[in-house]
Symmetry: C2
Subunit: 198 residues, 2 copies
């Protein structure tokens, strides 16, 4: 078991995010037990997706068409742009139905540790999109982490904040969250940003 | 994102053992970010493995050849057979280098809960293999769980224990295990099976 296609497959599976050696072996054995019903269809689905899913050249979303179905949907409100780090963040916001405008996917966050600089992200494209005056507001919907906040600061510096309102997501107590289990930073922020109860 | 090849791929990935919706989405996005270097090679590896890895008709092991390289290796000792539930158990024992004989992979364990009966496992083939008198001993290397132990009992009943010695793995304190953290059942078994210290 130290060579051959099975060893190779397990090695490839174990390098996927969240999978280790043991889970890769388990998945490989599961697949081999269901060659016709699961394994070959999965191989075809991978190839099909790799060939047919494109990066949207406007917003960076993944879709079967370029521009994507969100960018070409003229029923969506066009005055507010939502900036997210990853396509998964876009999906998370779309699930809420709380935002009706277009998106801009950066493709990651600035990170000194991982060596990700401004040129590795779609920041230049964002600045260009913002310059034609189509957007009244740009929402920086980035994670409340060090990388997320430094990326937000960097982008806010690049944008013409005199012409466009640049906002960020509210910090505070998550809905359903118990105070006793929250960290000090969240409680401090929630206190500072308190609002009228009635 | 409710249709199309990407949605289909995420659905297939999330049905693999140990993966949920969130980890499937994360893997799909990781793959799409590396279409040429990871995604298409993985699709080919899956197809290659599905086509070239066979079930050994003697022992049930997975290998590029049938019979497998363990069954055809005449340098291995042939008088003792090791019975395991899964190919992953075979790999675990092979990694130890502590067993030098052939194997018999059952393909699972008897389980009333999951509706797995004797005819779903390779028990009949095991009995047939044991009847030609080639083996002096059969080791039932099955998990120390309810399903593992009831499978071991069932198999021991089927085998001609007058002609062949049927053994099981020792129960006791795992090497490196601290008594304080072990369950009562393991300590009781380890006490009962105590051996001379010198």
């Amino acid at each position: 078991m130290n060579e051959g296609p099975l060893h190779n497959l397990i090695k490839m599976l174990s390098s996927l995010p969240g999978l280790g050696n043991r889970s890769a072996r388990r998945i490989a054995l599961h697949l081999l037990a269901k060659r016709e019903s699961v394994m070959l269809p999965l191989a075809r689905a991978l190839q099909d997706t790799a060939e047919n899913i494109k990066d949207c050249s406007i917003c960076g979303n993944l879709d079967m068409h370029d521009p994507c179905s969100i960018c070409t949907d003229d029923r969506r409100e066009q005055h507010t742009l939502c900036v997210v780090a990853q396509v998964s963040d876009l999906w998370a916001i779309e699930r809420t139905n709380a935002f009706k405008g277009p998106y801009h996917v950066l493709g990651g966050l600035l990170s000194a540790l991982d060596g990700i600089g401004p040129s590795d992200l779609r920041i230049r494209q964002l600045v260009e999109r913002s310059e034609n005056g189509a957007f009244q507001e740009i929402i920086l919907a980035l994670s409340a982490t060090v990388d997320g906040q430094s990326t937000a600061h960097y982008i806010a510096d690049q944008l013409d904040t005199a012409a466009i309102k640049v906002t960020r997501l509210a910090h505070g107590v998550p809905v359903g969250g118990e105070l006793d289990y929250l960290d000090d930073g969240t409680i401090t922020t929630a206190l500072k940003s308190r609002s009228n109860a009635v």
